[in-house]
Point group: D3
Chain length 340, copies 6
Amino acid sequence: MAKIVTMGEIMLRLAPSGFERFVQAERFDAVYGGGEANVAVSLANYGHEAYFVSKLPKHEIGQAAVNSLRRFGVNTAYIARGGERVGIYFLENGVAMRPSKVIYDRSGSAIAEAKVSDFDFDKIFTGAQWFHFTGITPAISDSACAVLEEALKAAKRHQVMVSCDLNYRKKLWTPEKAQQIMRHLMQYVDVCIGNEEDAEKCLGYKAGSDVTKGELELSGYENIFKQMKEAFGFKYIVTSLRESHSASDNGWSGLAYDGHEFYHSKNYEIRIVDRVGGGDSFAAGFIHGLFAYKDDFKKALEFAVAASALKHTVLGDFNQVSVSEVETLMGGDASGRVQR
Amino acid sequence: MAKIVTMGEIMLRLAPSGFERFVQAERFDAVYGGGEANVAVSLANYGHEAYFVSKLPKHEIGQAAVNSLRRFGVNTAYIARGGERVGIYFLENGVAMRPSKVIYDRSGSAIAEAKVSDFDFDKIFTGAQWFHFTGITPAISDSACAVLEEALKAAKRHQVMVSCDLNYRKKLWTPEKAQQIMRHLMQYVDVCIGNEEDAEKCLGYKAGSDVTKGELELSGYENIFKQMKEAFGFKYIVTSLRESHSASDNGWSGLAYDGHEFYHSKNYEIRIVDRVGGGDSFAAGFIHGLFAYKDDFKKALEFAVAASALKHTVLGDFNQVSVSEVETLMGGDASGRVQR
Amino acid sequence: MAKIVTMGEIMLRLAPSGFERFVQAERFDAVYGGGEANVAVSLANYGHEAYFVSKLPKHEIGQAAVNSLRRFGVNTAYIARGGERVGIYFLENGVAMRPSKVIYDRSGSAIAEAKVSDFDFDKIFTGAQWFHFTGITPAISDSACAVLEEALKAAKRHQVMVSCDLNYRKKLWTPEKAQQIMRHLMQYVDVCIGNEEDAEKCLGYKAGSDVTKGELELSGYENIFKQMKEAFGFKYIVTSLRESHSASDNGWSGLAYDGHEFYHSKNYEIRIVDRVGGGDSFAAGFIHGLFAYKDDFKKALEFAVAASALKHTVLGDFNQVSVSEVETLMGGDASGRVQR
Amino acid sequence: MAKIVTMGEIMLRLAPSGFERFVQAERFDAVYGGGEANVAVSLANYGHEAYFVSKLPKHEIGQAAVNSLRRFGVNTAYIARGGERVGIYFLENGVAMRPSKVIYDRSGSAIAEAKVSDFDFDKIFTGAQWFHFTGITPAISDSACAVLEEALKAAKRHQVMVSCDLNYRKKLWTPEKAQQIMRHLMQYVDVCIGNEEDAEKCLGYKAGSDVTKGELELSGYENIFKQMKEAFGFKYIVTSLRESHSASDNGWSGLAYDGHEFYHSKNYEIRIVDRVGGGDSFAAGFIHGLFAYKDDFKKALEFAVAASALKHTVLGDFNQVSVSEVETLMGGDASGRVQR
Amino acid sequence: MAKIVTMGEIMLRLAPSGFERFVQAERFDAVYGGGEANVAVSLANYGHEAYFVSKLPKHEIGQAAVNSLRRFGVNTAYIARGGERVGIYFLENGVAMRPSKVIYDRSGSAIAEAKVSDFDFDKIFTGAQWFHFTGITPAISDSACAVLEEALKAAKRHQVMVSCDLNYRKKLWTPEKAQQIMRHLMQYVDVCIGNEEDAEKCLGYKAGSDVTKGELELSGYENIFKQMKEAFGFKYIVTSLRESHSASDNGWSGLAYDGHEFYHSKNYEIRIVDRVGGGDSFAAGFIHGLFAYKDDFKKALEFAVAASALKHTVLGDFNQVSVSEVETLMGGDASGRVQR
Amino acid sequence: MAKIVTMGEIMLRLAPSGFERFVQAERFDAVYGGGEANVAVSLANYGHEAYFVSKLPKHEIGQAAVNSLRRFGVNTAYIARGGERVGIYFLENGVAMRPSKVIYDRSGSAIAEAKVSDFDFDKIFTGAQWFHFTGITPAISDSACAVLEEALKAAKRHQVMVSCDLNYRKKLWTPEKAQQIMRHLMQYVDVCIGNEEDAEKCLGYKAGSDVTKGELELSGYENIFKQMKEAFGFKYIVTSLRESHSASDNGWSGLAYDGHEFYHSKNYEIRIVDRVGGGDSFAAGFIHGLFAYKDDFKKALEFAVAASALKHTVLGDFNQVSVSEVETLMGGDASGRVQR
């Protein structure tokens, strides 16, 4: 298994239990999560030596965030300690026609105020095989963006493969600023993950006017994926495809392009217990799949889609599933029979 | 927004958590609710100056009932304090083929023993634009019925519009007594809300023999609505229409008649988290809709149906949704996509 | 109503709440259950004088297991007290494509080490009309098997009808050992309950090669049921039929054979809250049905299927439903309308 | 061990968890309890064949009350089923200088409306050795009082010893009515349990003017106990003695008189987890002690005091302690060392 | 009763339940609190028309903070809505030798960024009799300080009495900045509340060198109170006096000075359930006491001390006690006997 | 900080919440703990590189045990995976005069069936400075004892200091067997930890007849410590001293002997939240103290006593306190003042 590094922000997630609304809550379930941290946990669960790099305050809330990662096998040796606050997001679970809601309270977090000198990237990337980040990290703050670019340079110095989940966040920046920065960062990226909206907002590629529902949607994706490949020379471009029937029921599949061939995975009709982290579990699944299936990007995509389909049944941001559970589902057994 | 008055009983609701059955419960979730109180909370959530009029004991359980209303913005200044008990109902949540169960324990409650002298209705209705009650209030006790009629007379003196949700409750009275009283009270009512069973048990109108499933059901409603209009001169007659596929899945729509035209709303297939208060959220939605859409009763009905569809995803008797959430659903977005 | 005796193991079941995974659990919901104990509780709920015979330690965990049975009306006078441990099983609830998981931790339990001298079977069976056991009891240990055979001999001495739910458990024994013992024990059995897998693993009857999905599956069952009838002379052979669409949604029906006629019950599409004990609730329903409907095995089967369909909505191993609830569903009302 | 019968009301107790106040509660812990029911559970825990006689509704809340008794080994065969409601009391736990609060909501309960014909007392008392009631039962309603007197007559017909815990409840009746009835009922009583206030309010005996704190208080008790002995011929008169330092800390001892000698028990300084049912656990302890120590009333009193001291550490109305736990404390070991 | 205005910050308090440490928490109990808000709730509980003035975001967490105040009767009509975040503090409950811990996460809250134009102070103070603030409000931010001074000027224009609880917070400012601002603001203050540390850090008065434990400590207070009186002309200067034996047990009394006489209240030995808000409940008690006892400052102090002694038994920042509960304790009954 | 290795069993601890008794529990709080694991967590919290060596099943309950250690920074790289079960203990919390109860269910656990070949001790002890075990490990099973001796030999080969907490467990072995084995193992031990009972049951040294309460008790300890020093040549002999006033209140101090001098620490009067693991936190504190204070055994003892005094306020087996928290208490601040 591989040494894989991810870097970004981990936040305290506060959610009323079950289907309570925010205004009814007398208590919040507390877990920790964030795009790259979620990927690291998935990869640790699959047996990789996964590192999460970030900055967290020295106080007990910062420590609890570190502990949440250690508990599930992520190596936290390179998390810098300092700063004032752990970013927070409040989550209200949706159901049926009522959507989930997220209220962010993340400005001024320790990672947003981190400096390049907080990290020794040459040490961090020694022996590493993969580096993963999302479009959230450069959006957090200018200094976080600077730290990230240092990491990317070091990754390239150490011949580390780089994946990026574009993940456009409209609360953090504008499309203009996103494109200015993200287009620049794409020079370091080998595997690009992102849906139509991300491609448009972060990179400026808009799926053509013939993009409508169903199959034609895929042709829109093919159109922009080809342009992205040309512009940035990605090895793979992938996206998950979500059809939101309701907050409780979604269709779920994936699309991958290796510069030659488009591959659309099996589609799952999923029932949602917790959809936060679904995209991250998809990214982690694709990374693992490339390692496990030796660059067979179609099998990697099927692993990614099955892993993330299962994520939607798991509480919390972290995807708590094993390789064998994912492979059972990939293999076609969605019967849910009791395992005694 | 309008000053709106509702009057009736608010009860302590005791429910085992989740899907526990009564005989398994070691703990009850405690909320407060009752037809008119539920309407008041909805209207406060929509920005109206909503008053709930009732009587509650001075002890802490009575105070907690008052607080539950204040918390969500209902004005409780006209709740008389005194009497011995807060009415109680026990609720067991159903699921799939197992129905929800309600055990009432409400006799002897403070409002059932209230007197006309407990209230100053001229003060209460000064400046008010709407008064809402349900068929439960006159059924509680003879004195509650007398108090209600005083309120209705005062409402009329103050040119207040009056709506009534017929809400037949077989544990509280017989069809004979219900008709004797309710037919009499209809003289004060402008907007009548009630389904087929209510119309039959409370007013004596039975949908004709050609009433069967599907479209024909609507013709049965049209038949009795016309008779009710003729007999009582209502401005609007409306009903929600529920198709119970199971305790978890229902079809949900509404029908309204303005004396000229019948309007059948959009139908929603809803998944049920908590269905108690569904009818009340429908009534509140229709009242708000008439204010917000300036007597466009079709839009009011669509608002009522969407609001009450959402209610079925909200725990407790009270519908905790905002105007913008309802209007998003009315506008056709039932996708449940996360709102970040 | 009848005096009915069941004998076997009751275990402490430890389950994370809701949809939590084992590795996330900070707390376990604790109930008690086991094949024959579950049957006894169902029968007590239906009004029978139900006895559960077993052995449990004298300590408080053993006492809590006894209390769980007394609470729901099972007579525990013949539970021997002694031994060291209460068997345990850990249960993780599945949902959608993620299956439920069971981890057994039952070896060395008090009943596994019980001796014939712990029980006075002539006293136990005095006045009894029915004895029920499952294929789990003889699999627990050689001594449990010896105790069971003593019980069966006594049952026969007292002209007690005997039912057996074959219930093959691969963690407890091999097909070879199972067949050696179970074929021998069938001499005492009047009513045999078991699905295809049980019939093959416990008795050695394999449904023929033409058994595929749908109707043909039934012909496979008919084939082996006929052979089983011939070999062991059972009065009735019955099985529940589960179609696992997912961990949350199943099709559910039953098949019964009285030596003359095959009867396939109504099919229910069920949504699962807790599927453990589903088979036991089916067995108990069939036993009750034979008493209640005076050996009309078709009505007994319909009762069994409706009872166990409802079980899937009830938390815990025990089926907490009444005769009237089952008969309402049998009668065709699956609408789940609120019962006030 | 003996067959012991108790009769009275069992209520649903609803308490906010921990130290929450009523107005903060979103949830109530639900247990069942009542003077005579509490005594029955204690006696069942000590190994007696304990019966609780009452009337409870047929619905599920009534059933849950029955189940709470069965769970802990009380025989419920003679509980009549019918009526509308289970009496309720709300309990707020006090701590330190803040007292516990009880809000009763018990009028109109099934037992308050029970009739003599609901019970077959000759059957109930066949083979019985002891009958226990409290002064609450005759205070509930006139019909409950009539039923009780029938029970007392039957008890005497069957040579059953009778104990009464006077338990004056000012919310249920006045001292005048209490004395009129209770003085009459004392003719059936062999063992009278009650403190100074009970003796005054229920029987009209007031401790003399020289009664002050400390030892002199005992002389006041001696004074009235002698008068009570003379007036009613009791075999034993006993009382627990509570010094309320605060809601959390009390002194606790007992005083008994056999017509010849006064015996003041050891005093315990107790820390309170749940004080409801403390007096009932004292009464049960004294009854058990008379059986276990063959009428050595001093040892019986020490057992009663130790048992009820332990009760104050047990949640709920029921005293969940064993004979050996009580005897360990009686024997002087209050060290609380872990028992492994 | 009086119209009383308070102004400041209300925060979301997140606390692990019971005695859990931060690093163990999987869930946080969520209540809302803050110095001036706590005072407002106490005063509403005592029957005053209490207003809390602040600024809170429009989102649901902001709304929940508003609702927490409405629930307990505080008028929230003058809370401005806007800004990004609700300040947060994390609270770990201490016990015995382990102290409670608070981690603040409040920078950038809506009130910290409020402007004078967010409030109409002339409207707010019309008809008001009292204004209360703490030293936390001017420390939050320069703009909050400016808003506060506008409020103070308006209060004086409207002849409103002003009380200030000095409440030095070392995480928010330095002694230098505190003194510069607080000494200036004292011109508006009639009643000054604060202990030795507050007097030194906020106003620059240091208790002399002869201040040691016991009585002499009081002479130190007398010394500085006299100087403060001279410098600022306060009508009353008061302080609570806490002796911290441990995190669970404290001594608790108060000292007041009216320019003529020093009065040291009764001392209570208190057991602590939740000590946050203890000082605020003291301030509110003194304000109420002055109204209720018509400026008898000694009785006001006894009310303040008893009210705040009780607060330590109440969960959350808000003191949920009634006038009659406080007066019972003031009257000497600390026995904690059950109130039925 | 040092690399420190501990070896033994970690169990799943199942405890009813708060003060519930076993027979009342519907739910168990689940944490993991065991003598040596508890020591490892304490040492990780103090900043050491702490390893816990054991064997645990591959299933999810085994994984959860591993995760509980990783979460708090213990290195689990040398935990062998295999076997069937995780040992369990049930814990009922005592209070006041009611003692805590432990029911063990640990036979057949993975570590009890571990083999020498499961571990590579030369790798494990490379670079290590300390090895800690308790008398529980050799008592678990003969094979666990054999594994332990291999570990001890390897420790000595690598010049690692060894500490042993004698910890006699009467449920696991007899004094005869304990002495036969433990006396033999003492050849490897440098620091011996154990109280009077341990010394007698494990090593055969009985404190003389002049040992009574108070100071003389210490002279009994001095007597046997001298003999133990002579017999086994320990560098240090230490014990904690507990005075059990009740299950809630204890006196707590320590005694240490370095072959020259006896040192009795400060005594703390402690209030108990959770006393399990108290002895382990003492051992860990002494080990850390020797490192931190460079073999000043008196300061080490004070650290050990303060650390373990704090442990009694922490839920779970693991002591969650930091060096600075312990040193604050050592330094004399037991006031429990809030830390903001």
